[in-house]
């Protein structure tokens, strides 16, 4: 009859068999095995997994990835520096100053300026703010 400690015993046995430090001592494991037929049986069955893997190996094919990687790396977009962001900041500053002039009446079109500047920046960066990145779901 299995007790709640059986899983821990089997885990400890597995760790010891793998040459790792086990959470229980060899004596504790042996004492448990001497009284628990289920664990003795499972330990023997578990051994089969290791035996099977000893006669198998990972399939190993020689494939060259470099050619494709080299092409991809060459196509990397050049890194965008701070220049475009400085220009956008300057434009927004000018817009704000114009808007703050007390006697200026630039008209309703000036209200669209920040939107146009932001849109131009997105076009320049080739970024779509409405794009849904499904890959983010899997980030761990």
């Amino acid at each position: 009859m299995k007790t709640p400690t059986c899983e821990l015993m089997l885990m400890a046995m597995m760790a010891a068999a793998d040459g790792e430090s086990a959470p229980l001592s060899t004596d504790e494991i042996n004492v448990h095995l001497s009284v628990c037929a289920d664990c003795r049986e499972e330990a023997v069955r578990m051994q089969r997994v290791g035996d099977l893997f000893q006669h198998a190996s990972r399939r190993d094919d020689a494939i060259d990835l470099w050619t494709a990687i080299d092409v991809r790396l060459a196509q990397q977009p050049s890194r965008i520096g701070w220049g475009p962001f400085a220009v956008v900041s300057l434009l927004l500053l000018v817009y704000k100053l114009v808007e703050m002039l007390p006697e200026a009446e630039p008209g309703w079109a000036i209200e669209l300026a920040p939107l146009i500047i932001f849109g131009a920046l997105l076009v320049f960066l080739r970024e779509n703010p409405f794009k849904i990145n499904t890959e983010l779901i899997l980030e761990k």
Binding site: M14, R45, M46, A56, R59, D61, W66, D70, L138, K140
Partner: protein, 167 residues
């Protein structure tokens, strides 16, 4: 050429130096990706993407540490993302293991089928343990989980594998 020297060259913009890393680790990477994804075609894509990720992230890599365990984390991220994009693909559909000399072909087939029916995470930990012979500490580093979790995850994965083998 040592990985450390190669990585330093890559960081200085020598793209050609990266070739050494790709050629040194591509077989291992494809093997691992195939065990995870199940198809050679997907594995090649994932390995290729992971190498590109690695090239881009080399500046953050601590070159006093070995390259492959760090790269493996990028590779498995790519594999898990790819598997999620192809949700219908949940099992291995290609031969990912081969028989060693003297092995019985029915045993290998049984093992192949049992591995096929495991989920990706169980298949990953079991194959890393048995095919790569990684210690629990190495598994913890590769899988980014505590050592205690390695022990329990490996235990339950083996149990599931055994259940499949005995079915």
């Amino acid at each position: 050429m040592d990985d450390e020297i190669v990585i330093e060259k890559c960081r200085n913009g020598d793209q050609e130096a990266f070739r050494h890393l790709v050629e040194r680790y591509q077989r291992q990477a494809i093997g691992h990706a195939t065990a995870l994804l199940g198809t050679r075609e997907d594995a090649l894509d994932a390995a290729q993407e992971a190498f590109i990720d690695a090239f881009r992230a080399l500046k953050q890599f601590d070159s006093s540490r070995p390259f492959y365990p760090w790269f493996y984390v990028l590779l498995r991220n790519r594999c898990f993302k790819m598997a999620a994009r192809k949700r219908e693909m949940t099992s291995i559909d290609e031969t990912v293991i081969v028989a060693a000399t003297g092995a019985r072909s029915e045993d290998i087939l049984a093992l192949q089928n049992a591995l096929r029916s495991l989920d990706m995470e169980d298949r990953e930990i079991v194959t890393l343990k048995y095919f790569d012979g990684l210690s629990y500490n190495e598994l913890a580093e590769r899988l980014q989980i505590p050592k205690g979790t390695v022990m329990s995850r490996l235990f339950y994965a083996r149990r599931k594998l055994l259940a499949k083998l005995e079915r």
